[in-house]
Subunit: 343 residues, 2 copies
């Protein structure tokens, strides 16, 4: 019989099929019609084909918008946000509206034409992650911004570009906190009030004790298939040590995160034939620790993590509309399969 | 410049592009590779190709599972839920789990092979809607159920079946309230406490006063493109008279709802070349009025409505993960276009 499982953080219910579980081969991921256009504007040497760079990790002595970089950050082509002006918060009758002050940036994560993170050497993944930290640290200084989304769309079916698969992630800084984040903050704050403990810390402890949903573990990080996974092969990566704010990550932890990224994405790619996926960082809103109050228990109640969601099943209408999911692969089986996938 | 708009009910922010708005032709909906398999198991005469019927609206004297029906309700083929047993709510360490007690039913809305609601005569649409009311009324009697989802997946890209496009909707009765519904209940309850008015009633009044986002209006119903539409050509249908519970719909209102369905889906189909879409009923949880308390202001604070979401754009990873959307078509333009679409 399937099980109805509850996500402990936001209270989302998921039906997890336990019998007749779908295995990796059942998903049959294909890549027909995904040929890239050449030349790739994101490769080293083609800097003039992109917008002007905002930031780069560069070899000493090299010039802006020219070769010699490790990572390069440029504005996103479609500019739905503007960095100029003030928010101009106003009403429109009962509605609320403001200027879309924000930033939307692309992090080109390698000068070489890699197409998935695991293909990169660990030290280069580390540089890419550090670039995100640097950009987020800079964006936090702008007091108009409340939140910063860091995410990746890998593969056309996950919203990735058809033009080039060159490895890159994206950052969106916004003047509002997204609803999913608010739900998590509300849920984890509620738990903290009740238990005086971080819900994510409890979750990590239970997952390490049980072991059945652990995909990988390093000294500082853990990758688990969450108990109430919405999607087959959903994976969360969390730091073992409590911390609400990703940009406070330590040097050792970042190194470890690069390692676990390489491991997890190698396994996913091999097990599921390079599946389309998204990942998204969930971290505390900007300057949260400085505003104690109902939703702010000064960094204790929230715990940054990264949610990786392969896009290998069609999401049905009722899942969209209700936030109530059916997952055909138990996380225990997904984790076991990924643990056993040799890379 | 685009606008950052807030959905007043759940506080979800959406970026709405105002310049360079996408028009219907920009979406380029195609139907390649969507040929149906014959014969259709849902057509009159093929009753033996489906599961046994649970309920039917039938001509007097006709037999169960034989021709002579107007609508027929059968169990969904993939049974993720079970109607037998008790919930057996239990903990698994910090997690919560229960048996997936529930019902998943298909409403075959016509004995003829129609593929979209607007093709049906209004009186037949009314019978189809009445069938949903009858099933929901019956399911409410089962005290194990807390909520009932009524929805439609139209078109393969909206999760519709590849096998047959025969018109049908779906019902899922669950022992839990889905998170999206909880968000709406929380938001509308908050507004009610502050204003002593229903937020949806206020919204209807403002939309009727402004007029720019109204798609259609009948005596009892209104169809609007919501102010903070997540998707191009998103439409909500609401009863003008306050009511939290869909199954209490009156005879005249139901007739009117059939009429506005016919109008709205005719326009959508013509304007966007038969786009894939989902619709979902948002109604109060079962037996809500009998439980006054913090979230229950005895029917006053919630207002049932139907959300229609065309699936004509790819939803990007960050929209999924954050609940923060970018919509390239302002609802004012979508509404204007649909108003002017002659059917």
């Amino acid at each position: 019989m399937p099980e109805l499982r509850k996500d402990p953080i936001i209270g989302r219910w998921v039906i997890v099929s336990v019998e007749r579980a779908k295995r990796p081969n059942d998903f049959n991921v294909t890549h027909v019609g995904e040929e890239e256009t050449k030349p790739c504007p994101f490769c080293e040497g083609n800097e003039s084909d992109t917008s002007q760079e905002i930031f780069a990790v560069r070899k000493p002595g090299t010039q802006k918008n020219s070769p010699g970089w490790e990572t390069r950050v440029i504005p996103n082509r479609a500019q739905n946000f503007t960095i100029y002006g003030d928010l101009d918060r106003r009403g429109a009758g009962m509605y609320d509206v403001m200027h879309p002050i924000g930033a939307h940036e692309l992090i080109i994560e390698s000068p070489q034409h890699f197409t998935d993170l695991f293909q990169m050497p660990e030290d280069k993944i580390e540089i890419a992650l550090n670039t995100a930290v640097a950009r987020m640290t800079d964006l936090e200084k702008d007091v108009r911004f409340k939140y910063c989304l860091l995410f990746k769309n890998h593969g056309v079916k996950a919203g990735g570009s058809k033009r080039s698969k060159h490895i890159r992630s994206q950052i969106i800084a916004t003047p509002v906190t997204p609803t999913r984040v608010k739900e998590e903050l509300r849920g984890s704050s509620f738990y903290y009030k009740y238990k005086d403990r971080c819900i994510f810390c409890d979750l990590i402890k239970q997952e390490l004790d049980t072991g059945t949903r652990v995909v990988m573990e390093t000294k500082h990080m853990i990758a688990v298939a969450p108990f109430a996974s919405r999607f087959p092969f959903e994976i969360w990566i969390l730091p073992k040590k409590h911390c609400s704010d990703f940009i406070k990550i330590g040097k050792e932890e970042l190194k470890d995160l690069a390692g676990i990224f390489k491991g997890v994405f190698s396994k996913l790619s091999k097990a599921l034939n390079d599946p389309p996926y998204n990942y998204m960082l969930h971290t505390a809103p900007f300057r949260r620790e400085k505003k104690p109050g109902y939703w702010n228990t000064i960094e204790n109640d929230y715990h940054w993590h990264i949610e990786i969601t392969p896009r290998i099943t069609q999401v049905a209408g009722f899942e969209w509309g209700s936030g109530f999911y059916i997952n055909p692969t138990p996380p225990e089986e997904a984790a076991k399969h990924l643990r056993e996938t040799k890379v």
